[in-house]
Amino acid sequence: MRKSSSSSSSQGDRERHQGDRERHQGGSGDVFEQPHTSHGRQESRTRRDSGNPAEEAAGTTPMARPMDFKIYVDQACKAAEEFVNIYYETMDKRRQALTRLYLDKATLVWNGNVVTGLEALTKFFDVLPSSEFQVNMLDCQPVHEQATQAQATVLVVTSGTVKFDGNRQHYFNQNFLLTAQSTADNIVWKIASDCFRFQDWESS
C-alpha cells in the first residue's frame, strides 16, 4: 500500500518488483482481488511524485521519512485501534455478529486449527465458550503494497488475557490482516486472516 520512494535506486527496485509481481500474479482465488484506490492514495501519489530525495540521502537518521509513509502509519493506527475495540467487544458480547468482521473467504488459525470461510467460522464461534478478553498490548504496521497487490492492508498484533466461560485465565497473542473494503460512501476494514494462540497452550 505504500509507494516506493522516488530515489533512483528504489525506482529500479520497483521495476524489478513489478516484474516479480507479474510473474507471481494470476491467482484469481486470492482474497485481494480488487486493487483499492482512494483519495488518500491519490494524494500521496502526488506527494511521492513531487519527490523526496532527502530520504535516501539522510543516512541513518530515522527522521527522514517520506510524508506518505507517515500518512499510511496514521491510517493503519487509526484502523487498528478502532478495529480492536470493536472486535473484542463483539467477541465477548455479541458473538453472533462476529463473522460480519470477516471477509467471505477469511481464514482463522486458532491454536493450530484452521477454519476457513464464513460458514465454518460461524460454526466455530458458535461452539467457542463465552469469553472475557482483555487486550493489554497492540501494535500495527501498514503492509507493503508489493505483498498485497496494492490492496490497503494492515497487520494488527494484540496480546492480553482471556477467560473462557469464566475459567482459568490464559495469555494470548493474536494477529490480524485487515483489508480496506470500499463501500458506497466509506471504507470498511475487514479481516482477511486471523491467527490466535494461547501463550500457554502446551502446558495448559
Partner: protein, 460 residues
C-alpha cells in the same frame, strides 16, 4: 459476643453478608458466620469490637439505601469453637478414618460413621451435621488423603451440607461422592458444593429425590450444580446437549504448528533456521539481505503497571511500540522502523540471543500469490549483559513476498518479547542448539554486500 445483623424487609441474604463484610475487618466472620432468616449471625471475641459494631447500627446502608440494624448480645463460646475436637479425639478420628480408607482405590468409606465402634468405644460423638465434626473430618482428609477420589457419606443423617461445602478447597480431587440415605431435602444444599468437579454422585434415599416431577428434571437440576457429572445414582447420564465448554475442552483443541502444506513447511522452516542462525551467531548486518528495501519492523514488550520496577526487558523498552500505552502519533511513526537500513541498525543494537529451535511453534496463517504471513513463537536466552541467561518467550510475525530462488523477502516484521514463565523453560535449553557451520554462519562481507537487494545465498 454474639452479633446479629438484621434487615427490616425481605433481604437477599448473600448480598447482605457481602455488604457487611465490606466495611469490617475480615477475621470477624471466620467464627460461625451464617445466615438466619432475614439476618446474618456471627461471633466476635472482644467487647470493644462488639461495641464498635453496635455503633454503626442503622448507620450503614445496603445497596438499596436501607439502613441495616446491628444487634449485639453477650454469649457463651460458640458451638463450633466449644465443640472443637480435642487432640486425642482428633487422633482417634484419624485412626478410624485410616481404617476406612482404601488406598488402592483412593476411596474413603464413612457410612454410618457415628456408629463406628472405634469412636463409640472412646465415647467420641461424630455427628457429621455438626460443623466441627465435618471440619475435623475434612482436615484429616486434607492432611492424610490428599489424592482422595471417592468419598462415601451415606447413612449419616445429613440434612445440611454447610460443613461439607469446604470440600471444594480441602478435597478438590474428589470425583465420586455418595450421599445416599441421608436427609437432604433440597438441591440448595448440593449447590453449596458447586465447583467440585464431580463425575459420579449418589443421592437416592434422600427426600429431595422425590421433589422432582420426572427423572429428566432431576438430572438437569443436579447437573446444574455439577456440569461434569457422568453418573447419577449408578446410571450413566446422556451426554449433555451442549458441548462441554470448559477449559479442558478448549485446551484439548490446541495443536502444534500449522503450516498448510509440506512445501510451505520446508520453506518457512528453512527461512527461520537461516534467519536465526545469522541473528544469533552471525553478523546481524547480513540480515539486510532478508528484508525488502521498504520493510517495516516494530516490537513490543509487556507493560506492568503494578510492577513499576525496571523490567529485565529494559533493553527492549525504548523500542517498545505498544499502542495501548503509546498514544503520541509522532512516536508511533518513530518507533515503526522503516527501510531495511533502519531495521538492520535496530536489530544490531538489540541484545545478543540464542533461540531454541526445539521450542518453535509456527503458524502459517495467510498465503496468496504475492505474500506469506507466518508467526513463530518460542524461547530464547539472553547471552550477554546483566540479564545473561534469562529466558524470554517471543512471538514474531513475518509477512514476506516471494523472492528469487524460492526464498522469501520480508516486508513486515513484528516482534513480541516477554519474560518466560519458569514452567515453560524446563528442558528446552538442555537440548544443544544447532551448531553453526562455517559456510552458513560466517558469510564473507563481500557476499553480504553484493546480495544486498536479495537474500544472500544462505537465505535462499
Amino acid at each position: 459476643m454474639h452479633t446479629t445483623v438484621w434487615r427490616n424487609r425481605k433481604p437477599l441474604e448473600r448480598e447482605m453478608g457481602e455488604n457487611t463484610q465490606d466495611g469490617t475487618p475480615g477475621s470477624w466472620f471466620r467464627v460461625t458466620f451464617h445466615f438466619m432468616q432475614n439476618g446474618a449471625r456471627f461471633f466476635v471475641q472482644e467487647a470493644s469490637t462488639a461495641s464498635a459494631l453496635m455503633d454503626v447500627s442503622y448507620k450503614i446502608r445496603d445497596e438499596e439505601s436501607r439502613k441495616i440494624p446491628v444487634f449485639v448480645s453477650p454469649s457463651a463460646v460458640p458451638y463450633s469453637v466449644r465443640d472443637k475436637l480435642k487432640p486425642e479425639e482428633m487422633e482417634q478420628l484419624k485412626l478410624t478414618l485410616s481404617k476406612r480408607f482404601d488406598v488402592s482405590q483412593q476411596a474413603l468409606d464413612l457410612q454410618r460413621l457415628r456408629l463406628d465402634p472405634d469412636l463409640v468405644g472412646y465415647d467420641i460423638d461424630i455427628f457429621l451435621n455438626r460443623r466441627s465434626c465435618m471440619a475435623a473430618t475434612l482436615q484429616v482428609i486434607e492432611k492424610y488423603f490428599p489424592e482422595l477420589l471417592s468419598l462415601n457419606l451415606s447413612s449419616n443423617k445429613l440434612y445440611q451440607l454447610d460443613g461439607l461445602s469446604d470440600i471444594i478447597q480441602m478435597a478438590p480431587t474428589v470425583k465420586i461422592l455418595n450421599l445416599s440415605k441421608n436427609e437432604l431435602t433440597s438441591v440448595w444444599e448440593l449447590s453449596k458444593m458447586q465447583g467440585l468437579k464431580l463425575e459420579e454422585l449418589w443421592l437416592q434415599g434422600n427426600p429431595l429425590c422425590d421433589t422432582f416431577p420426572d427423572q429428566s428434571t432431576y438430572v438437569r437440576a443436579i447437573r446444574e450444580c455439577f456440569p461434569k457429572l457422568l453418573r447419577l445414582d449408578g446410571q450413566e447420564l446422556p451426554s449433555p446437549v451442549t458441548v462441554d465448554v470448559d477449559t479442558p475442552y478448549i485446551v484439548k483443541l490446541c495443536k502444534g504448528s500449522y503450516f498448510g502444506s509440506d512445501e510451505l513447511k520446508s520453506l518457512v522452516l528453512q527461512f527461520l533456521k537461516q534467519y536465526y542462525l545469522i541473528h544469533d551467531y552471525g553478523d546481524r548486518q547480513v540480515l539486510a539481505g532478508a528484508y525488502h528495501e521498504e520493510a517495516c519492523f516494530s516490537l513490543m514488550i509487556p507493560f506492568h503497571p503494578e510492577d513499576p520496577a525496571p523490567s529485565s526487558l529494559c533493553k527492549y523498552f525504548k523500542d517498545s511500540r505498544n499502542m495501548k500505552k503509546l498514544k503520541d502519533p509522532y512516536l508511533r511513526v518513530q518507533l515503526l522502523k522503516h527501510t531495511k537500513r533502519v531495521i538492520v541498525h535496530t536489530l544490531c543494537v538489540l541484545p545478543k540471543t540464542q533461540h531454541a529451535f526445539s521450542s518453535f511453534v509456527v503458524d502459517t496463517w495467510f498465503q496468496t500469490e504475492t505474500m506469506l504471513c507466518f508467526s513463530v513463537s518460542g524461547l530464547f536466552k539472553a547471552v550477554e549483559g546483566s540479564s545473561q541467561g534469562c529466558v524470554r518467550a517471543f512471538t514474531r510475525t513475518f509477512i514476506a513476498t516471494p523472492a528469487r530462488y524460492a526464498s522469501l523477502c520480508i516486508v513486515n516484521d513484528e516482534l513480541f518479547v516477554r519474560d518466560a514463565d519458569p514452567s515453560e523453560t524446563q528442558s528446552v535449553f538442555s537440548i544443544p542448539l544447532p551448531t553453526p557451520t562455517s559456510s552458513s554462519m560466517h558469510p564473507s562481507p563481500s557476499s553480504s554486500r553484493t546480495s544486498c537487494r536479495h537474500p544472500p545465498p544462505h537465505l535462499r
